[in-house]
């Protein structure tokens, strides 16, 4: 595997989307290539930051109520 091939696999490696063989070859490459290892590490950390830092908003109670109501009417009544 060369650097171009490795770079194409970085996001899939970060997201656990590589096949078994791809993963083996990718890990072998980044164990020897500092540049690609750096790219991989950056991408992985960026993903963690997004996961940890972006706040998830909760649905307001009014919306919860109306969805619950929507699905506790018979379809004939609702539509």
């Amino acid at each position: 595997m060369n650097c171009n091939e490795a770079l194409l696999l970085i996001s899939a490696a970060v997201d656990g989307e590589l096949s078994f063989t791809e993963k083996q070859q990718f890990l072998l490459h980044i164990s020897k290539c500092e540049g690609c290892y750096g790219e991989f590490d950056d991408a992985q950390r960026t993903k963690m930051i997004i996961k940890e830092r972006v706040v998830r908003f909760k649905a307001p109670q009014t919306l919860i109520n109306s969805i619950m109501q929507l699905t506790s009417l018979s379809p004939k009544e609702t539509f």
Binding site: L7, L8, I10, S11, A12, V14, D15, E17, G38, D41, D42, A43, R45, T46, K47, I49, I50, K51, E52, R53, V54, V55, R56, F57, K58, A59, P60, T62, L63, I64, N65, S66, I67, M68, Q69, L70, T71, S72, L73, S74, P75, E77, T78, F79
Partner: protein, 209 residues
């Protein structure tokens, strides 16, 4: 939205009793499979519309459609992904294709929200000297907002919502290879933004070249 009206609730109770066993079963299954993703759908709707009223409308409409077509949901597949796909189509139909002017983008609301929670969740990795681990929620969110939509979208679906590449590819109507490369480029752009903030705030990082 209106408060539940007692008269209406009585009617609901009555119709509930009149439901056929099949409809009753559908309801229960819908609650367990679909309604449990309400918060995730609302959160995503809010992030794409940036307006609470539009987000509520979008989610309402999504659940109406989902309930109506619940029989076409392939059992055993990811219901959350199915709902997101409906939501996305709704969004395109309602806001892109002509019919509705989107509501005013409410940046202030989002900003205020981030201000009100700042620091409260900065508890995990404080010992770590890496500035990125102590980045404020608001800065990260601003960086995300600065990305072109096609990159922001896949990052949200992957990193925030946890969908697989196959599910994302289906939602954005693109091949998996496109999802892969958008994620790669999107994260690089995001990283550059965050490094910009870090420098502005007087931090230098090991990873700077």
């Amino acid at each position: 939205m209106d408060k539940p009206d007692p008269a209406q609730q009585r009617i609901n109770m009555q119709t509930h009793e009149l439901l056929s066993p099949a409809e009753h079963k559908k309801q229960i299954e819908f609650q367990n499979e679909a309604v449990v993703h309400l918060h995730a759908l609302y959160n995503y709707a809010l992030h794409i519309t940036m307006n609470p009223d539009d987000a509520e409308d979008l989610v309402q409409d999504t659940y109406l459609k989902a309930y109506r077509f619940f029989n076409s949901f392939e059992r055993g597949t990811n219901c959350k992904a199915w709902l997101f796909k409906i939501l996305k189509n709704n969004y395109i139909n309602i806001f892109r294709k002509n019919s509705k002017e989107p509501g005013k983008v409410d940046y202030d609301l989002i900003k205020d929200f981030y201000h009100s929670i700042k620091d409260t969740r900065r508890d995990t990795t404080e010992a770590d000297s890496d500035y990125f681990h102590t980045m404020l929620h608001e800065e990260v969110y601003q960086a995300l907002l600065s990305l072109p939509e096609e990159f922001r979208e896949v990052i949200q679906l992957c990193d925030i919502e946890g969908f697989t590449y196959e599910e994302i590819a289906n939602m954005v109507d693109s091949p998996i290879g496109t999802v892969r490369s958008r994620l790669f480029r999107g994260r690089k752009l995001l990283r550059a933004q965050l490094e910009g903030y870090a420098r502005t705030n007087g931090f230098t990082t090991d990873t700077d070249q």
